[in-house]
């Protein structure tokens, strides 16, 4: 086949220009969300393990928490889900996207940098919504009856938690090699799950550790959600300030350390 028959003259006549911002954002968000929902390892982290813990910790009296057990387990599992998506999953995918030149490829298009970030954030939000719906539905089947008065505090806490863990995820995934990101993101997830105030309530932790846990994003988020949804009390300004600090400081560092490759 000759060039003439394969490519009609005028096919490639330059017509450069940037696409519509809304469409770019929509396509990028949809692509990243589909990728996250298709990835088995990410699903394990974001849905399967939180579901298993929700059911397991509710049905098995492994850890001494309040009753009904599901009321105390559900807020902690929601905190875990946020951490899984915004931190671990985000860091790992960012690390490998950099490794495979995805960010470079997209940066070479007309896609503005802020939109590159916005697409990832929106995609993470979509995953979080899926998590919240699935986990809340299963918790409801297990008999979850949260204090609805606490929703006003729970929602901003979830948003701030997602931002804080997201900033940490970008800081990690955007700066070091993909393999290191993979190892560190999983290790941190495991440590925070067990000793960071998520699976084990801080009241069951040694006194010294409990103070530290209050200052961790995991402890602040899980503790704040538990106060709001299980106790129906306000967690006060503490968790908000802790999460805000974990958003701003890593976020600012990440703007300097995040690299395309």
């Amino acid at each position: 086949m000759s060039a003439e028959t394969r490519f009609a003259p005028g096919t490639f006549t330059p017509a450069p220009g940037r696409g519509r911002l809304g469409r770019m954002l929509a396509v990028q968000t949809a692509t990243e969300t589909k990728l996250a929902l298709r990835n088995g390892e990410q699903l394990l982290l974001t849905l399967i393990i939180p579901l298993a813990l929700l059911v397991g910790l509710t049905e098995l009296p492994i850890i001494d928490i309040g009753t009904p057990r599901v009321d105390w387990v559900a807020p902690r599992v929601l905190a875990l889900a946020i951490m899984s998506t915004a931190f671990t999953s985000q860091a790992i995918s960012l690390g490998f996207d950099r490794r495979y030149g995805v960010l470079k490829r997209l940066a070479a298009t007309a896609l503005p940098r802020w939109l590159l970030v916005a697409g990832r954030v929106l995609s993470a939000c979509c995953i979080v919504v899926v998590q919240l719906v699935v986990l809340s539905a299963v918790a409801a089947l297990l008999g979850w009856s949260p204090h609805l008065s606490g929703l006003g505090e729970a929602v901003p806490l979830l948003v701030l938690g997602a931002l804080a863990f997201g900033a940490l995820g970008v800081l990690l995934g955007g700066s070091v090699r993909a393999e290191i990101t993979l190892a560190v993101a999983n290790a941190v997830w495991f440590v925070l799950l067990l000793a960071g105030g998520i699976a084990v309530p801080e009241s069951s932790l040694p006194a010294g550790l409990a103070t530290v846990v209050d200052l961790l994003p995991s402890g602040a988020l899980a503790g704040g959600l538990t106060d709001a949804l299980a106790r129906g009390t306000s967690p006060g300004a503490g968790p908000y300030l802790v999460l805000l600090a974990w958003t701003v400081v890593p976020g600012l560092i990440a703007t300097r350390t995040t690299r395309l490759t």
């Binding site: 060039a3 096919t11 490639f12 006549t13 330059p14 017509a15 450069p16 030149g101 070479a108």
Partner: protein, 317 residues
């Protein structure tokens, strides 16, 4: 910034130049990857950048794409600094390897890149013409190397850019796919798109490029059209043939004034000098007198590969 002032005047003076690189320097620690490089490309032409591994080709192209910052020198791409935002829609980039989410399907990736352009090419048509229709739903990591290369090429051209950077576009492709890429580059040129490509393949450069730049150790060692570069000042040509080993070449040379002859490997002969029809028939007649058949008889002009090897040496990097 007097340097900037003079160079912006220079690029403003020549709107027909899509690429103007002056005195480009890039160092990585103690290694100077690009060492005072000058490049110029006219609109609508294909410029091939050749050079051995480590010559500075990819570094140079990545600086032009805005992915690396130069340590010194001035680079203007379509009259802009390489990191200029307004430049993005006007250029197309095919990096050397990678450039897609590991789990993304070929169709999804091209659609995503196409969504960034105002008037992209038809995605389904482009996938089809590049032989990727069967791979539409295949995740990127399960595509063959050649399919990944073709997807990357599709991403580079889908936004209908004015200037396309192709870093080793045919590396690892089978001959059919290589022909396809060559056809596409020719079609781009026909339609007025400027193409800068790097390659290791001399026949690729000879067949596609209007202009060739040969780099070595981060410097330009030769530049010109393929014809200019292969034109031999001494007009020397070579006649090669195979026959039984150990023929008395000194006797042959008495009939070929102005020529030299050698037998680099047993049974393989090379005659150098002004080779014309008379010289060719002399050689075959001389062989016939000895009852020897001259096989694989070939007259070769100096190829771009000869020029390349002469300029950059024959040792491996």
């Amino acid at each position: 910034m007097s340097l900037d002032a003079t160079t912006s005047n220079r690029s403003a003076a020549d709107p027909d130049q899509v690429l103007a690189v002056h005195g480009l320097v890039k160092r990585f620690g103690a290694v100077t990857a690009v060492d005072g490089l000058d490049l110029a490309q006219r609109r609508g032409t294909v410029l091939a950048v050749l050079g051995p591994n480590g010559a500075g080709k990819t570094t140079t192209i990545e600086i032009c794409e805005g992915f690396q910052r130069p340590d010194a020198g001035d680079v203007r791409v379509l009259g802009h600094r390489p990191d200029a935002r307004e430049l993005r829609p006007r250029i197309g980039v095919m990096p050397q390897g990678g450039g897609a989410y590991p789990g993304v399907r070929a169709g999804e990736m091209l659609r995503l890149v196409a969504s960034c352009a105002r008037q992209p090419l038809d995605v389904d048509w482009l996938l089809g013409v590049l032989g990727l229709t069967d791979a539409l739903r295949t995740p990127y990591k399960r595509l063959s190397g050649g399919q990944q290369q073709r997807l990357s090429l599709a991403c580079a051209v889908v936004g209908r850019p004015e200037l396309v950077f192709l870093d080793e576009p045919t590396a690892g492709l089978d001959p059919q796919a290589r022909r396809l890429v060559w056809d596409l580059v020719r079609a781009l040129r026909t339609d007025g798109v400027s193409v800068l490509l790097t390659t290791h393949l001399m026949d690729e450069a000879e067949s596609l490029a209007d202009d060739v730049v040969i780099l070595d150790h981060g410097r330009v060692v030769a530049t010109g059209t393929p014809a200019e570069l292969t034109a031999d000042a001494t007009d020397e040509q070579r006649l090669g043939f195979r026959a039984s080993p150990g023929l008395p070449l000194a006797d042959l040379l008495t009939r070929l004034p102005g020529c030299t002859a050698e037998e680099p490997d047993p049974g393989r002969y090379v005659i150098r000098g002004p080779i014309g029809p008379r010289e060719v028939s002399t050689v075959t007649a001389w062989c016939a007198e000895r009852g020897v058949l001259a096989e694989e008889l070939k007259v070769v002009r100096r190829s771009l590969e000869d020029v390349f090897l002469d300029l950059t040496g024959r040792e491996l990097r």
